[in-house]
Symmetry: C2
């Protein structure tokens, strides 16, 4: 069994990721939890509560091959042995319930669900190539897709429905073309081919390696191709928020040509954090830091700031050292106050800063002047200072914990500390 | 204490609503559930798990007045006596945990949380005007706001942050004006006033009655007013998806003028279902039915269908009998398969139909031809047939339950049943 691109990734942070995911599990995925006593409610807007039927398999050496054959998708949660302490047991039960609820909701979709115990089922795990305890692996045909998002029932249901679809979407009319052009937040590839039996095959094979994280489109239609300035057998790569695509070098392209190109270019200059792949993005830091921009798209200044960010990203799209993670606080209501506290920020306003992912120490661009957002040029200067190391999280103001211990600082919390006077107490 | 507009509403479905809400509770709001054993995870993307500290008050006759005075907002969950059965107790604990987690996340925002027992605290409930068991009431200054959405921590956090803000947003520059113009999904009022000490006061008082469900904006800026063609002391009402606003009759307007106008016009011709007020919308049916349109905005045909719907809504904005509930399935991943099953639909495609909210019986417009969406004219003809009763849920195919009992029907599930052969087994 060949393992997909998502499984091939770096492994050195596996334990930390597993720990981080547990937190999400416990919090977001508690859902369902039980057999509700239903009375006659207004109909048409009722939640499917967990019916108590056991749908998640206890996968072992005897049944795993059969399970792989039986379903279109097999979704396996690879977990540590069931813990002895009550608290951790409850957490484990909740993970199970998220899977049970997901299985119930998707009952008619031919998706199998199972649990693989890292100790009891170590042999099965090895055979299946499961590596990261606390991860969810989806088997589709001869591929393995690692789920790298928030382990809640909603996010998982959406993810699995995406995986069920064809990995390449065919664009055959103007309506579909317009929809393609609206997807500016996604990485998209599009190719023009003679038909299903053509170099399309290689494109399709490549697409399977990235489904559902990177979207692949194809057209067999001359007028669609013309509108996109696509030549026969040409493949274009659209980076998020870029107006013009890049053309993959060479025609026709082999599966590996495409896979290698995508792997080299998938870290976008500006990328949006989403529940479905939040951990993947957060772990893909640049030497231990992230440039993070908070901007609420619905807010006036958030929207304009995002426009400026897009300009900056477009100007710097060829700089491989630059990747900005855009977080819309509206997408993560429960994390907003955590971020405000951790980073000592007001997220009602747009913000941009550098975050050290090892200790969450951070430094933020001063945009306290109410009226003026920075211009694209000012932002680029700041980013240059970040990339050159002139601005870094070590030189900046004290960490939040230290500030909390420091009454004098807390009382002046609204003012940014004087750079000349500060000391780095970590040293 | 004057009770706000949201509390003044119809009460005859209270029990049913409470039952319905319980289901949501049990499913969506299980969140948190426990004290997690944290190890060193990658920092900056961690969920605030419930810390076990008790923040939710047990409200009673002795402490309720103090609680009202102490906080900017007081958020009270009015509940049935703690049940004796284990299953229901668990459910109750989960509601408590949703509130505890919300309280923790919003700890620095000066919001109090409490539980009011419908039996033990009947007197307090009466004094506070709590009526609907299973509801959440938010007290702000001398107002009461009923929360009518999904009782999950994310939705509740967002809602409370909205309630904390000023009920009127002031628009003073072009950036804010552009943001105002982008909000086509919301009901919005905007007024032009000389300044804070002016007829603005009445506008502000009116806004408080509808916060946060209906958005109020004001400008004191001549050029903003000019751009919106607003005269001094004039108030405009923007219905969702309409290009032109309606002008409220009369200048200057009293608080009651505005309140009455909004109450008369708040049921929009096309309204989007959202987690924050889904129950309010669903209960506001038209003689027991809803016209429901499913359309995924991100999908090619969903997007175009929505454009057609908007055209139809614009053409029929003055028809008080027409209100279409638009549901984007992407916003409700866990409900999608429930709807598909209940209504016997494929929600990968746009759909429009009539739903009887008493029994969830429904009839849907046949759009099975892959290429062609209905035109605005065809849609209007269909809607006319619905409003005149020529198309109704009683004449149409059998209910889903009946179909499930009927093997012959199940085997022909994909075809729409012949209208002439059907019988209504309910009679």
């Amino acid at each position: 069994m060949s393992s997909g691109a998502c499984v091939d990734r770096v492994k050195f942070r596996l334990q930390r990721r597993a720990a981080m995911r547990q937190i999400w599990l416990s919090l977001l995925s508690g859902l369902s939890l039980r057999l509700v006593f239903l009375c006659g409610a207004e109909e048409g807007l009722e939640f499917p509560n967990f019916d108590g039927k056991d749908r998640v398999l206890d996968v072992n050496e005897r049944n795993f091959k059969k399970a792989l054959k039986r379903y279109d998708l097999l979704c396996l949660f690879y977990h540590e042995p069931v813990p002895a302490t009550k608290g951790l047991q409850k957490q484990f039960q909740m993970t199970e319930l998220v899977l049970e609820l997901t299985a119930q909701v998707l009952e008619n979709k031919d998706i199998g669900f199972g649990m693989v115990d890292a100790q009891k089922d170590a042999k099965v795990a090895k055979k299946l190539g499961l590596e990261e305890v606390g991860s969810l692996y989806v088997f589709k045909d001869d591929r393995v897709i690692e789920f790298d998002g928030e382990l809640s029932a909603d996010t998982l249901v959406e993810f699995l429905l995406d995986v069920l679809e064809d990995p390449v979407e065919i664009i055959s009319n103007a309506m579909e073309l317009r929809a393609f052009e609206r997807m500016e937040e996604d990485i998209r590839l599009i190719g023009y081919f003679r038909g299903e039996d053509s170099h399309f095959k290689a494109f399709q094979e490549a697409s399977e390696r990235f489904q559902p994280y990177i979207k692949f489109f194809a057209t067999f239609d001359k007028s669609v191709a013309k509108h996109l300035s696509l030549k026969m057998n040409e493949v274009n790569f659209y980076e998020p928020f870029m107006e013009e695509p890049a053309i993959l070098p060479g025609r026709p392209l082999s599966e590996m040509d495409i896979v290698e190109y995508v792997n080299q270019h998938r870290r976008a200059t500006l990328r949006k954090l989403r529940a479905e792949n939040m951990f993947e993005i957060w772990e893909d830091d640049m030497d231990g830091i992230h440039i993070v921009a908070f901007a609420e798209e619905e807010d006036p200044d958030g929207y304009e700031f995002l426009e400026i960010l897009k300009d900056v990203a477009r100007d710097n799209t060829n700089n491989p050292e630059l990747s900005i993670v855009w977080i819309d606080p509206d997408d993560f209501p429960l994390l907003t106050t955590y971020w405000e506290k951790t980073f000592n920020l007001d997220l009602f306003r747009p913000q941009i800063g550098v975050v050290n992912v090892t200790d969450a120490d951070s430094v933020w661009l001063d945009m306290s002047n109410d009226e003026d957002l920075p211009t694209a040029e000012e932002l680029e200067d700041w980013i240059e200072d970040v990339l050159s190391g002139r601005i870094n999280t070590e030189d900046d103001d004290k960490s939040v914990d230290e500030q909390e211990d420091d009454l004098y600082m807390v009382e002046n919390g609204d003012e940014s500390p004087d750079q000349d006077e500060e000391e780095d107490y970590d040293d």
